[in-house]
Symmetry: C2
Subunit: 405 residues, 2 copies
């Protein structure tokens, strides 16, 4: 499998082609890595040093194992981002790595996967794999996804690699979290593309069960977080979060990860999962990663592929609105209604935009707050045509620097 | 703690006194162990040999550790059932052990616990304990109970000891499984008695968290098995099974047992828990143990303590009915309505008896069956005064011995 994929390296994936066509300002097509074209990452924390940490985590034993494996396969020692970079200065390499994007097909030429990616389709095989790799003694990270992976997902995989030695990425379009009138059937899928991307990112295993494997006949058990899922997406998508927390519970029980990585874009989902883990005493650390954005600020989402060029343009109003609200907060405004209003005003300018909710709320309980005291989150959901998009921004009040008087 | 309890050995527990008063035919009061007075156990499988297996499981290493610990505490080597028995013949000891009941206070004099019983009140301490005893490498059994332990519970503990080396018994009166008008407040409790009994049975740890430990402020996550919990007790006790499956999920996540032992008396609960484990991919084996009965056949239950002497007498009609139905089945009757009718007739003779349901159903799906084909279960729930009692019997069609023609 691995050899086969190496021969295909020069071909760009169908998924990438499709998305490049549909999104006007695609950032990943044959442009050199640099500040201007790198996708924005909100908050941008932990930008530097990630590579250093990764290599720092390698024990002497692991290095020895790697050396042995190189000897076997006859591969040369190369850095993860290609042999070219070994000549560069240390600082420069670090920065480049932090801003790492999917290289264009030309650049990818020299890239070798660091380890084979295992594809697993059943619960039984997943358990056998974990037992075989000695998962009880190694740290395991899980990145649950619905596939059609974009840079946002891959940033989660990178964080997973940083945090654990076994990285499981699940790809499962979960019917239980789609309503009867929702986009389950047309939800974009590209398993071979996902496989290629995950191999490149050095994930250990891709867990891609089919529906009957996860929901066999007679299935009837659901896990429900009741309060934090009531409003917002919970109100407009009845049953959605029950589907999410049920499948996540199952994945946690199957994979038994030490850590699971989710994106902050699905903020309410992240809050629900934190609550689930706490309430049911699951021993898994939940890591929420900053939203990955296109150059114009639109939060990356598999559903962006649905947008027409005009809708894609209108969609940028969401993050423009969020940023404007944040600036208003920073200028001293604390009133939630005012902060929401500035977002609403911007959204209403777009002709295809139907606003579902704009809410300022507590980041733990998700209860609406009348004003921002220390921290809050501004949640937005809209529909553009048939496409539902969500986004959010943290509204944290900056501490006054009054200490050094 | 252990020393203190040993000085109390001669005192009978307050719980036992209460129950002896309330139940007319108490079998455990100063009667020698024998066939006539031993509580009936439906099925009665695996009666003999349990002691032998227990000792057989001891590794040389364990024996050495034990020896060292005896040296430390200065205790003499005694068998689990007391030093006296060491003089008896092997067979006799085995039989006595199989029929083992709680001995009277006089007999208990020489009995020493084989290992100290650890009392744990918090989730954190539970996890620390399991980590300390190396639970990852040892087999762990969990017996979830609501306390006020009777012989039925203790038979589960014995099975747990047979199956695993670490035996956790949880005692938690779970508010989530009681309706607002139910008997949560008056549910009988006797933690010190439970502790004593568990020490005697050789349980490893008693996990007795308080309500706030299991349901801290903000708790809002529930696990629900939807179909098998709809009828029967689910219909008359809305929310009951949601409470059960939620707390059991939590206990499974806290204790991470390899095996969990439940009584078959709560048949619908057992079916729901099997479904829960299967549906959510929990890796725990569920063992259902035969119902433990009083001499007159009444299924042991903590709630039997509520019954007046007259009610206690009327309660015997339940098992008499079940047995009669089984005999009718064995005589060739397959019609579910007929089998139920014979139970209903008997129950209706009792003046304080209000019948909640009598149903013949499939033992996996719990759907009612019009006739018994190969296996079924007859479920009964009644109220006697304010006390709700349930019981059941398996209606399995005997295979015809037509093979040896």
């Amino acid at each position: 499998m691995a050899a086969k994929s190496r021969t295909r390296k020069k071909k760009s994936s169908p998924a990438r082609k499709t998305r490049a066509k549909k999104t006007t300002k695609k950032t990943t097509k044959k442009k050199p890595a640099g500040k201007k074209t790198s996708p924005k990452r909100k908050g941008g924390k932990k930008k530097t040093g990630s590579r250093k940490k990764t290599s720092g985590r390698k024990s002497a034993k692991k290095r020895a194992t790697k050396k042995a494996s190189r000897k076997k396969t006859g591969r040369k020692k190369t850095s993860r981002t290609g042999g070219k970079k070994s000549a560069r200065g240390k600082k420069r390499a670090r920065i480049a790595s932090a801003r790492r994007k999917r290289p264009s097909s030309g650049q990818r030429k020299d890239k070798k996967p660091t380890r084979p990616l295992k594809i697993v389709r059943t619960v039984k095989d997943m358990r056998r794999y974990l037992s075989d790799v000695g998962a009880k003694r190694r740290k395991v990270a899980l990145v649950p996804t619905m596939g059609y992976l974009h840079e946002g997902h891959l940033s989660l995989v990178r964080e997973a690699r940083r945090l654990a030695s076994v990285v499981v990425v699940s790809v499962f379009v979960n019917p239980a979290q789609f309503g009867p009138a929702e986009d389950l059937d047309r939800y974009p899928r590209d398993l071979s593309g996902d496989r290629r991307k995950l191999r490149r990112e050095g994930a250990s295993v891709l867990f891609a069960p089919d529906t009957a494997e996860i929901y066999p006949e007679g299935f009837q058990t659901y896990v429900e977080v009741t309060e934090v899922t009531r409003d917002y997406c919970g109100a407009s998508r009845p049953g959605h979060f029950r589907g999410v927390t049920t499948v996540v519970s199952k994945l946690f029980n199957i994979v038994k990860p030490d850590v699971a990585i989710f994106g902050q874009k699905d903020f309410q989902q992240l809050v629900a999962i934190r609550r689930l883990v706490k309430d049911l005493d699951m021993q898994v650390e939940i890591v929420g990663m900053p939203t990955f954005r296109e150059e114009d600020g639109l939060a990356m989402s598999s559903r962006n592929a649905y947008l027409s060029p005009s809708q894609r343009q209108q969609a940028t109003a969401i993050f423009r609105g969020l940023r404007k609200a944040k600036r208003l907060l920073d200028s001293g405004e604390r009133d939630s209604a005012e902060l929401a209003a500035i977002v609403l005003d911007l959204l209403r300018e777009e002709q295809d935009m139907r606003i579902e909710y704009v809410a300022v709320c507590d980041p733990q309980s998700l209860e609406r707050v009348p004003e921002v005291e220390s921290e809050a989150v501004l949640l937005v959901a809209v529909r553009i045509g048939d496409t539902r998009l969500i986004d959010n921004i943290q509204l944290n009040v900056r501490r006054k620097r009054a200490r050094r008087k």
